[in-house]
């Protein structure tokens, strides 16, 4: 127990909690979007994230030609390397998500089988993905090159504003708001919301169900891929099983905010990131997941549908 940390390093804990939380937000979108539409847990999402991290490593080492952090990039070269890695990571995750939907969900959905069957086939897909990655990398952790010098903007209110953390916070926020607008304003977003309200009625209104569901998986995958890129920018190493803990935390975040609810995922993710960082500082990092789950149980006791959750019938994505 070390409560003095909370007062002495409050703002820097907040900042790192925020950047971790926003990564969780983006991953949990992969869970919450799919849940909103299908009412199914997308168990393979943690491996979709893992694919994104590997894609990032691959692009960054390919473009810079080295794996060490010997010479950081500057200016235009830095910007386009980062952007290119982001796009490739998002695409890799998005395409994996579509493949997962196609292989693990579509056939089962067409036959209207029980939910557990889809769960098991999704778990099967996640085993396939993580095992393939394990075999390809020989179980070794993969490090991405350090692209930029992680200089600090200086200390504001005692917190160390490092460039990568600030970058992650700003771009993740932008992405979330872009997605939020897309789902609430665009035609396709409207279709997604319609399907999540009632599959039957959406079908009657002439919405192509399969297409909308594929798009939902794609968007969830794109967001997860972005999260993978941000994760690699801050933490710089990945492994075949990196998705497990992060996926679990992101799923918890989605449940905390109310699964199937975009804004719920947003606040749930940030709350979880802050909670994990604070509890790791106070109790030691080995207890952070325990604290998180205890808080989750307490929250669910008071609000059984999550903090921002709505009744299942009115869930909006």
């Amino acid at each position: 127990m070390n409560f003095s940390v909370l007062t002495s390093q409050f703002w820097s804990l907040c900042l790192s909690g925020l950047s971790l939380g926003l990564i969780y937000v983006l991953i949990s979108l992969g869970y919450t979007m799919v849940y909103g539409v299908l009412r199914l847990i997308n168990f393979a999402n943690s491996e979709i994230f893992m694919v994104g991290t590997f894609a990032t490593v691959w692009v960054e080492t390919g473009l810079t030609g080295h794996t060490s952090n010997s010479n950081p990039l500057h200016g235009f070269q830095l910007v386009y390397t980062l952007l290119f890695a982001l796009v490739v990571s998002m695409l890799a995750s998005g395409l994996t998500a579509i493949a997962v939907e196609f292989l693990a969900y579509r056939r089962l959905r067409a036959r209207g089988t029980n939910r557990l069957a889809s769960l098991i086939s999704a778990i099967g897909m996640s085993i396939i993905l993580s095992e393939s990655a394990r075999i390809l990398t020989h179980s070794r952790p993969q490090a991405s090159p350090r692209l930029m010098e992680k200089t600090s903007f200086g200390h504001i209110a005692g917190a160390n504003f490092r460039i990568d953390t600030v970058l992650v916070v700003i771009s993740a926020l932008l992405m979330f708001f872009a997605l939020d607008r897309f789902v609430n304003k665009s035609r396709l977003g409207k279709a997604i919301r319609a399907v999540s309200m009632s599959e039957e009625n959406a079908k009657l209104m002439g919405i192509n169900l399969n297409r909308v569901i594929s798009v939902t998986f794609l968007i969830g995958g794109l967001m997860t891929g972005a999260a993978a890129f941000f994760f690699m920018t801050v933490y710089e190493t990945t492994k075949f099983n990196v998705g497990f803990n992060l996926g679990l935390a992101a799923f918890t975040a989605a449940v905390l905010g109310g699964i199937g609810n975009l804004r719920g995922a947003f606040f749930g993710g940030i709350a979880l990131g802050l909670l994990e960082t604070m509890s790791a500082a106070v109790l030691g990092s080995q207890w952070k997941s325990v604290t998180v789950f205890v808080v989750l149980v307490l929250v669910l006791l008071v609000r059984p549908n999550g903090i921002f959750g709505e009744a299942i019938q009115q869930t909006r994505v």
Binding site: A117, L119, T252, I259, Q286, L296
Partner: protein
């Protein structure tokens, strides 16, 4: 005829319905005897194909096959019968195993005396976990139980009494019952022990299924709101189902710890929960024989294909996806049998 239309379960049930009591008794005794001599099946040259590359066939029969069938049956009460998705079943297995490990190395209690304690502790934790969380529905319950499984593992990793990462070593084997010794070399006896426990659990489930709890679970699984309106105390029966399932897991844990003699937190990961759950769904949810069948296949397969060490888990994943797509109700499904019963009006067995 499509592959998905084959339903062995219905055929078996139809044959069984056609038999009179003596014939059923003979069949059951023959079946028990047949399974009882299974450990010796690997002894002949033409059956040596059963042998698994690393551990001996007899060991594999105890763990994972026997243990997985046992735990699959226990989890089936929770998931298959009452429809509660539990993703942290390994927690109860771990609680049983650690009870055995701690008590046997620090006190003079032997495995038979610890068995009821381990089951009791697992049950208690089931009730404590169930009271707050069983009010939640479906997927929320799934994540909370998943979290519970992780918490138990993290706690065993980080407190001193469980030995941290190293776990606990030198756990004694159970003392002999009469001529049956339970030592390192007595896998056959362990198999018979686990088999007896499996039979006991099957018997218990069959009894419970036709009585009030079984009907309550079935009602809760089909529609909880309707069950509640019809006067079924749903929370109480859900907690019962949860704690009975937990007790079976705890018993499996005690026996497992006394068989392997060394336990460590990495034996109780989320993967084990997933594996047990997939045994149930793979074999046919809610149907006991399906669970037994699924458990045998899914436990044996990874051991048998150990020679392709690297791709072992990969093949396992592919098998899960393919089978679920081809037969989403599992290998021996329950559903159609119920339909047939409703059609022919056969009385409940």
């Amino acid at each position: 005829m499509k592959l998905t239309d084959i339903n062995l379960r219905d055929k078996g049930a139809a044959i069984w319905e056609g038999w009179d009591r003596p014939r059923r008794t003979i069949f059951v005794i023959a079946l028990i005897a047949l399974v009882g001599i299974m450990p010796f099946a690997g002894n002949f040259s033409f059956t040596s194909i059963l042998d698994t590359p690393i551990s001996s066939y007899q060991d594999v029969l105890v763990y994972p096959i026997g243990m997985f069938v046992l735990m699959g049956l226990g989890l089936n009460i929770v998931v298959g019968k009452s429809g509660l998705l539990d993703l942290g079943y390994v927690a109860f297995f771990a609680i049983g195993a650690y009870t055995m490990a701690i008590l046997s190395t620090r006190t003079h209690l032997n495995a038979w005396e610890i068995l009821p304690i381990g089951m009791g502790l697992a049950m208690l934790s089931g009730v404590l976990l169930g009271l707050p969380t069983l009010r939640l529905r479906g997927d929320y319950l799934a994540i909370v139980t998943l979290g519970f499984g992780e918490i138990v593992r993290i706690v065993t990793l980080n407190i001193s009494v469980t030995g941290g990462t190293n776990g606990i070593a030198r756990i004694p084997n159970p003392p002999a019952i009469g001529p049956l010794k339970f030592g390192l070399m007595n896998s056959v006896n362990f198999f018979w022990l686990v088999f007896a426990m499996i039979l006991l659990v099957i018997w218990m489930i069959r009894r419970l299924s036709v009585r009030r709890p079984g009907r309550a679970w079935e009602a809760i699984r089909q529609d909880e709101d309707v069950a509640m309106l019809m006067g079924v105390p749903t929370l109480r029966y859900k907690i019962w189902s949860f704690s009975i399932g937990a007790a079976v897991g705890g018993a499996a844990g005690v026996i497992y710890a006394s068989k392997v003699m060394v336990i460590a937190p990495q034996m109780f990961t989320f993967n084990v929960s997933v594996l047990i759950l997939s045994c149930i769904v793979f074999g046919g949810m809610g149907n006991m024989w399906g669970v037994v069948f699924g458990g045998v296949i899914l436990a044996y397969l990874p051991e048998r294909i150990r020679f392709i060490t690297d791709a072992r888990q990969l093949v396992y994943g592919i098998v899960l996806v393919v089978i679920m797509n081809v037969r989403p109700d599992g290998l021996l499904p329950r559903k159609k049998r119920e339909k047939i019963k409703a059609k022919t009006g056969a009385k409940n067995v």
